[in-house]
Amino acid sequence: MNSTRFNINGSKVVADIPDHNISLLDFLRDTLNFKGTKQGCGSGDCGACTVIVEDAHGKTLAVNACITPAAAMQGKNIITIEGIANQKTLHPVQQALIDFHGSQCGFCTPGFVMALTAHSLLPDAPKKNKREDIIAAISGNLCRCTGYWPIIKAGMASCGVGEAAQLRHVRMWEPQGALKKPHIPENCSGSSDESYQIAQNETMVAQRLEQRSPSDCSRSTIIAGATDEWVAVNQQLEQHETILDISRIPSLREITARDGTIEIGACVTHSELFAYFTEAPYQSSAIRELLTRFGSPQIRNRGTIGGNICGGSPIADWSPLLLALDASVVLKSAGSSRLVHLSNFFLGYRQTSLRPDEYLASVQFNVPQDWSQLSFEKISKRYEDDISSVCAAIFLAHDGDVVQEARIAYGGIAPIPMRISALEAILKGQPLSGIDHGKIKVELDSIINPISDVRASANYRLQMAETMLIDRLALEQKTA
């Protein structure tokens, strides 16, 4: 049994986690009796269970408690809905939700309060109170009653600027109690219990992998953000005998740019990547597009790029983009390390070339000369927080009218994320103005063979794969 130490709403808590397969949500509700955080779906889709977790750098992040392992909170500062108001006054987000009639049934409300509070704690929050900022901040929260307008208004009013922010109580409010002085325990070493261990370094990972026999892979599990794995724990009732949490290993959490190559550690989160690739010098509109529509803030704050690749899913959005960047992955085991080109990494539906004794340490690619050569487009039933029906990442370099290099990769059109090398070869050296779009379509038809499922029909996927490519070619032709 794990004895876990962390802070909740400013108070130190030392508690035994009854089972290392328990989520932070169940732990909060059932063990600690914090009932304000709600269970809406158990799969990280509705946001009713949103809590704020403060990381080691003092960054406050909204996360879904339902798909966060309770044991992963060792040494963290957690803020729940019960800790948002100080003793005398409601938090401005709470007061604004009342003033704008932002709650009806109220069940989703604690989650919205937490998502908006996390947003309002951003250092540049007063500049991020535009409608689209607020919508992005609550894109991982579902409400079935209000139609969102009053919630958006409340968010805009309580994040610092605008007419409603002039309300007296908003100005009066100072962070107090739980939000005032984050206390992070210095020693966040893993527990001695093997059922859930927080790895301190890569050596621990390699050793653990070496020890486990191929047959018990599924029971001895390596996790980072666990945003996918914990859905299986909740929905498919998976029980892990032991869990090794690699999310805090410093060497896996770095992004380094050296000699024209960017190397991203496996445990870098999507939120961290968003910050990295939306600021100079590596601003990428393609990555911005990918990450804006990737899951939700709560998912992006926990999920890692390594997890997205290792899952091997044909609809994982990072894989096509990295394929279009001609990326490679670094696979390590005790005493060895190998570089595998990403197009050789995916073997079949959710099957990769990762050996049982290996872990994915990083992904690396050459910095494109011009980030605008890379585009990413996603088709899904719903714009926000939805899985791709089909997505395309296209790298296209041309000198005047002539295509110098094309790398085209898709998600959602085959059992694996896939490069379309045959088409790339056809395009290379061709003048953009001379490309026969009809021929491109026929060629693509002959290569890809998508399936029909709950998200889209095979035919729509095929049509969209064509459309996204032709559209990009036409755009380049215009600008050539």
């Binding site: 809406g40 009342i98 009053p150």
Partner: protein, 783 residues
């Protein structure tokens, strides 16, 4: 915590004009708003239970249609943490939990009739242990051929209740002889409720019976069902519901089985037992909005006046009647939507399918009937070469043309004026011209626009349900408790009733507390449904207030010697015109108590003037109608089918608003729920009868990004012509149908690809893929 006394004057409610409301009916915040935002509002799953409480999970059928050959639960019983396992033979009373009509088994023993039908139930020390145990059952099935869709049910004449046929058998010739006619078929998919709080209930044994907490819109029915399965008289079962985390019709009949299983286990084990459904179970085990297949033939003359309509509505009811009979009735009652039809024939089928039994969902069949009519009106407008809005305007119910197909006069004529005002406020005609001009240049992104009216009948069509009770206590310190049979699911019922009572006694709303609905406070209450809860419970509460005021008046006359009628205002009780005769309310009622005057009263209300013969399709099923109209503009990417909803203008008739903030919230929320139904929410089954859109990862309700930025909502400023509570109108369901204009606008954008010569077929919901398909259909025809 020091929380401000709610003062509506400080509260901005958006841009609602505050005219036309009784001065005392202010936009108070929701009575639980502070509890909501601090997380202190308790839902069923949040209530602290004894440490030895048990948790329930059920074992369900894997097949849509099968006979159970054997059910081996040996491994289930020995699974870790399992305390009790039951099958149908362990039910002490009846194995029946049907709502108005029987047919819903609590646990199946021989036949299973849909995927996920419960066969046995487990109570364990934790929910996870119960879930793990359930998976260990070994069940053998003898699979039989299922009936999975409307077409095969129609072919097999498989119905849950008999079909109804109303109207004129001669309709075919009327349509044939008209100047213009269209005949179309529309398949309308259902909708998952996706209330944020999954179904939940717990039961605790008491020495005189059983206490049940439920998240249900109908505690009275839960009480009846629990008593029935236990084989007990109803008086031994007390059911309470403080609040639900959303209902939308999905907790009208669907909550009862959870309470029943919890109660059976509680009774067997002498322990508190909770049954909370995980979302993944809730989405496959509970009923949804009905799919409907609608066939319409519609005709007009050369002037665009409707001559007749022939309607056949086939609802996919699932395996049992549940509430489907009334739902198909309401679809039939609303297939006219807002238009006068001189002749009509309306046929409604209740198709029995091997799927989960579909149930109430905000609008209760009305939306499907109205959408089908609106689609047909567009088709007819194109056939007759009339602008769709002109065809709509010409045929609205109006003086002299105000009789519905079921012979009820619509009464208060609202729509012609309402639509005219909306046309002006939305600048419809100049935008329509601009959009046409814009589309004429052949852009990739096409625009579409549509104005659609909504008329919705208010009252339960099951006439006996139109009754409500209330219980009112004044305590000796002057604080007031009101209780009634209605339930709070977020719609603001408690807030409205609290204000009605406070207003009746001239008190601040904080002096009135609306307590949890309980079957032992107000018995035999109807479900909180049909948009009627504020109408009926508000009136019942007012009735109790009036009775107490009569007693207090005679007390003042006899005991205090006050001569004039009483005025209750600003916390004071005054005698009219006599300044010396005045007391604070608390002091006044204290004196009344000392004089042995009863300060408690029950109130009752029955909706007047309604009756209907549903087999003949004749009568006055509705007390009145609520009206509205909306204009939506959309922008469609013709290469992908993606789209955005642009400007939306809504003008809606709430009579004299009881609370403008809450009514606006109902309009906004209803519109977006309708928007989801018609756009992104695609309810899909596979060929074996399994629901494949079985979780929020693949069933997509709207997010904040999907709602239009540019929306104007205004109230139509006219009071109800019939004497409802403060002359208000019901507002729960009607706004859902305001979203029909989005669907019609999407179709309009696609029609622009034909230079507005044809109106292409579009499915429901119009997902981006389906819009793309519509565009391809047009391109295939025109190129």
């Amino acid at each position: 915590m020091n929380v401000r006394d709610p003062d509506p004057k400080l509260n901005s409610s958006g841009d609602i004009k505050k005219t036309n409301q009784a001065s005392e009916m202010l936009p108070y915040p929701h009575e639980s708003a502070t509890a909501h935002v601090t997380g202190s509002a308790l839902y069923v799953d949040d209530v602290a239970l004894p440490g030895n409480a048990l948790h329930v999970e059920v074992g369900v059928s894997e097949h849509a249609s099968a006979r159970l050959k054997s059910v081996d639960l040996t491994e289930v019983r020995t699974s870790e943490g399992v305390v009790d396992v039951i099958t149908s033979t362990d039910i002490p009373g009846e194995n029946e939990v049907g709502a108005l009509l029987p047919g819903d088994r609590l646990l199946s023993s021989q036949l299973v009739e849909y995927v996920a039908q419960p066969i046995f139930a487990v109570a364990a020390l934790s929910l996870r242990q119960a879930q793990l145990a359930v998976a260990k059952a070994v069940i053998e099935y003898e699979i039989t051929e299922p009936t999975l869709d409307v077409d095969s049910a129609m072919a097999a004449k498989s119905f849950v209740t008999p079909s109804r046929r109303w109207g004129d058998g001669n309709i075919a010739s009327v349509i044939k002889e008209s100047d213009h006619q269209v005949a179309n078929e529309l398949y309308i998919r259902g909708q998952e409720h996706f209330y944020l709080e999954p179904q939940a209930s717990f039961a605790s044994p008491r020495d005189d019976g059983m206490f049940v907490a439920t998240s249900s819109q109908h505690p009275g029915e839960v009480q009846s069902a629990v008593a029935k399965v236990l084989g007990w008289p109803m008086h031994r079962v007390t059911v309470e519901c403080r609040r639900m985390g959303g209902g939308f019709g999905g907790k009208e009949s669907q909550a009862a089985p959870l309470a029943c299983l919890a109660a059976i286990f509680a009774n067997r084990n002498g322990k508190t037992v909770k049954y909370r459904m995980p979302r993944s179970s809730d989405m496959v085990q509970t009923g949804k909005r009905h799919d409907f297949k609608v066939r319409i033939a519609l005709a007009c003359n050369g002037e665009g006046l409707l001559q007749g309509g022939d309607f056949e509505l086939s609802g996919k009811c699932g395996y049992s009647p549940d509430l489907s009979d009334g739902i198909v009735d309401r679809a039939m009652f609303h297939v006219d939507n807002a238009y006068f039809l001189p002749k009509s024939r309306i046929v409604g089928h209740r198709c029995k399918t091997n799927t989960v039994s579909n149930t109430a969902f905000r609008g209760f069949g009305g939306p499907q009937g109205m959408l089908a009519m609106e689609a047909a009106m567009d088709n007819l407008a194109y056939a007759a070469k009339i602008e769709p809005l002109l065809l709509r305007e010409r045929n609205l119910y109006r003086p002299g043309f105000s009789t519905t197909p079921y012979q009820q006069d619509v009464g208060q004529i609202v729509l012609p004026d309402l639509v005219q005002k909306l046309v002006a406020r939305s600048d419809y005609w100049s935008r329509r011209e601009n959009i046409k001009a814009y589309n004429a240049s052949g852009p990739r992104w096409r625009k579409g626009i549509s104005l659609n009216p909504v008329k919705f009948g208010i009252s339960f069509t099951a006439t006996h349900l139109n009754q409500a009770g209330a219980l009112l206590h004044i305590f000796t310190d002057g604080s007031v408790e009101v209780n009634h049979g209605g339930t709070e699911m977020g719609q603001g019922l408690y807030t409205k009733v609290q204000a009605i009572v406070a207003n009746a006694f001239g008190l601040r709303i904080s002096q009135v507390l609306n307590t949890a609905s309980r079957t032992d406070k107000v018995p035999n209450a109807s479900p909180t449904a049909a948009s009627s809860a504020a109408d009926m419970n508000g009136m019942a509460a007012l009735n109790a207030c009036e009775q107490i005021k009569i007693r207090l008046t005679s007390f003042a006359k006899q005991e205090l010697g006050w001569t004039d009628p009483l005025i209750f205002s600003n916390g004071m009780v005054n005698s009219r015109g006599n300044p010396g005769e005045s007391l604070p309310f608390s002091e006044f009622v204290g004196k009344a108590y000392m004089a042995r005057v009863s300060l408690s009263e029950k109130g009752f209300y029955r909706t007047p003037d309604i009756s209907v013969d549903k087999d003949a399709g004749v009568g006055n099923p509705f007390y009145y109608f609520a009206n509205g109209a909306s204009v939506s503009e959309v922008l469609v990417d013709t290469l992908t089918g993606n789209y955005r909803v642009g400007r939306v203008d809504i003008l809606h008739d709430v009579g004299r608003s009881l609370n403008s903030a809450i009514d606006r919230g109902q309009i906004e929320g209803g519109f977006v729920q309708g928007l989801g139904w018609l756009t992104t929410e695609e309810l899909l089954w596979d060929s074996s009868g399994k629901i494949v859109s079985n979780g929020p990862a693949n069933y997509k309700i709207p997010t904040a990004h999907d709602v239009p930025k540019d929306i104007t909502i205004e109230f139509y400023e006219e009071e109800n012509s019939v004497p409802t509570v403060h002359r208000s109108k019901a507002v729960g369901e009607p706004p859902v149908m305001l979203a029909i204009s989005v669907w019609c606008a999407l179709r309009d954008a696609c029609a622009s690809l034909t230079e507005y010569r044809q109106i292409p077929p579009l499915t429901v919901p119009a997902t981006p893929e389906q819009v793309y398909r519509c565009i391809q259909h047009v391109k295939g025809k025109t190129s």
